[in-house]
């Protein structure tokens, strides 16, 4: 495999982890978060600092997941206070707060970020395999959660908090759990990203990235693990595939986003479901 292919596949793996973990928060549990990039970034910076100071890759990944999860649970407390669109905008705020804070911190490298991060020591192709293994584990975990009692409770909270409360499901606890798990995975993805690029800047974790991740979830079909995995792969490959229209990439990308939503508002999963129903009827 060429270096280009390895890097594209690595990015796909990282984006799958990010989109699937966001889907746990926003899809399963119904808590719209437009600040997933902040937790990803927190993980990346945590791993970078751990590698620069300690130099132990497994410890750095663990540290990344823990930092992601802790910031996620703190933001999760906000979701107990504000709901729906208020929460969406609060999480946008969290994203801007993260990038704005990091940009001004000298110990985090400021605008220039952190460079020369020691790699995982596995080499590019084995590093890619490690990323793919983590991505696969995330997908399996997500499928398991959605079939478990916890997944059932997440959906109940997402559909109707008050009705869930009547059934004795503690909405607050499950919201915090969704944020804690989802952002731990985002932090892990950040750690993998730090190994992959060995160079991080605040701009890599901005609001645009968070919107892109939410687009993966919505286009995939919110709540559907397979749909989201598919959308994550498609939306990562799309800018590469339309490289020939280099100067018009964003134009084409925006146009396709509008078209897909307009033609299949339920995302891939919704479109497949509708097709299956049509086939069964005929």
């Amino acid at each position: 495999m060429s270096a280009y292919e390895i890097s594209v596949i690595s990015v796909i793996g990282i984006n799958v982890i990010l989109a699937v973990s966001l889907n746990m928060i926003s899809g399963f549990c119904g808590q719209i978060s437009l600040g997933h990039g902040a937790f990803y970034g927190a993980g990346a910076y945590a791993a970078a600092l751990a590698m620069v100071n300690i130099g132990n890759p497994p410890l750095a990944l663990l540290f990344a997941a823990v930092v992601g999860s802790v910031t996620g649970i703190i933001v999760g407390f906000a979701s107990l206070r504000v709901r729906t669109d208020f929460l969406a905008v609060t999480t946008i705020g969290v994203n801007f707060l993260f990038t704005g804070f990091v940009r001004k911190q000298h110990w985090l490298g400021g605008e220039m970020g952190i460079s020369n991060i020691p790699g995982s020591g596995l080499g590019a192709s084995r590093n890619m395999i490690m990323i793919l293994l983590f991505a696969a584990a995330t997908v399996v975990f997500s499928l398991y959660i959605s079939r478990s009692w916890m997944g059932f409770s997440f959906r109940a909270v997402g559909e109707d908090e008050d009705a869930a409360a009547t059934l004795g499901i503690s909405a607050g606890a499950y919201k915090l759990a969704a944020f804690g798990i989802g952002t731990a995975l985002a932090g892990l993805a950040g750690g993998l990203y730090a190994f992959f690029t060995q160079f991080i800047v605040p701009d890599a974790f901005d609001f645009i990235l968070s919107v892109m991740l939410m687009a993966m979830v919505v286009i995939g079909g919110i709540g559907s693990t397979w749909g989201v995995v598919l959308a994550a792969i498609a939306l990562t490959l799309l800018p590469e595939a339309i490289r020939f229209v280099n100067d018009y990439r964003l134009l084409v990308f925006g146009g396709l986003l509008v078209l897909v939503i307009r033609l299949a508002p339920g995302g891939f999963a919704g479109a497949v479901g509708a097709l299956a129903r049509k086939v069964r009827k005929s």
């Binding site: 669109d85 905008v89 969290v94 707060l97 609001f207 919107v211 286009i219 134009l251 939503i261």
Partner: protein
């Protein structure tokens, strides 16, 4: 006088934010959609103003053209993008809106270039007055006056005219308003037309203040105006005005006092999060489920 200067800057930015955000608040109040593509309408207004003003040599014609073009575009967004998606979860039209914004921003970049367009004949950007020792720019005065006129006009329109009352009725109780003979679809078009016209005026004025319009002009609106309408209690015009002024002042003073730890946007959002934790329903909003 330093602190007074900061206040002047803060109020100017606040008035600008208010005119950008009010369209967003109106759309949210009526349809519960976060209309992120409003930023594209704002940018379109700015570009139409500068292009027409340069072509005809008349700023007034530039603004007039923007006030005509932007509402048409806003109504087209409603008809072609939002109307078919109204029955889905609110994040679906929102993502479509983001897609449209990305598309439009890139279209502006391709048509007008990375550098954007500069006003050929803009004397106002460099005209300053000395009011009681405080230096004020002519465009800053125009922004504050425009905001005052617009919000007074909007207030009179919604309280004193039949159309305005029908509009408010539709926003608060769509079904009952419809049973009294108000056409809710016409109200939606009116809503998008008015909000877009205001965004276009704001866009033109921001262009005048900077003396140029570049493709990135809309990005600030896309996220900051969202923060403002949330702070204002989502859908409330009065709340939006208050929140805009508060945010303008917080940013203006904040960059001086805590500028070494956080950048301008982060300060704005820190204020937003802090206020939301205290008042989860915004300044004027009633508590929603």
């Amino acid at each position: 006088m330093y602190y007074v200067d900061l206040a002047v800057t803060g109020v100017t930015f606040g008035c600008m934010y208010a005119m950008m955000a009010v369209g967003l608040a109106l759309v949210y109040g009526l349809l519960r959609i976060l209309h992120i593509a409003h930023a594209a309408v704002f940018a379109l207004g700015a570009f139409v103003t500068v292009v027409v003003a340069n072509a005809t040599g008349s700023l007034a014609l530039g603004f007039l053209a923007a006030i005509v073009v932007a509402p048409l575009f806003g109504m087209a967004i409603y008809r072609l993008l939002y109307e078919p998606l109204l029955s889905y979860r609110p994040d679906v039209p929102m993502i479509a809106s983001v897609g449209l914004l990305v598309l439009m921003q890139d279209a502006f970049r391709i048509v007008f270039g990375e550098q954007g367009v500069t006003f050929h004949n803009n004397v106002y950007a460099f005209m300053t007055f000395n009011l009681f020792g405080v230096t004020v720019n002519a465009v800053q005065i125009a922004i504050v006056v425009a905001a005052a006129v617009v919000f007074t006009g909007l207030h009179l329109f919604t309280t004193r005219t039949r159309i305005g009352v029908a509009w408010r009725a539709t926003v608060s109780r769509p079904k009952i308003a419809a049973s009294f003979g108000v056409d809710p679809i016409k109200v939606r078009y009116l809503n998008f037309a008015l909000g877009s016209a205001l965004a276009a005026i704001a866009g033109g004025l921001v262009g005048l203040l900077n003396n140029f319009v570049d493709p990135s002009i809309g990005y600030v609106v896309s996220y900051k105006a969202l923060a403002i309408i949330v702070l204002g209690g989502l859908g409330s015009v009065r709340g939006t005005l208050i929140a805009s002024l508060v945010l303008g002042l917080v940013e203006s003073y904040g960059t001086i006092f805590i500028g070494q730890w956080l950048d301008r946007d982060a300060i704005a959002f820190l204020a937003l999060i802090a206020l939301l934790m205290i008042r989860p329903q915004g300044f004027t909003g009633t508590r929603t489920a």
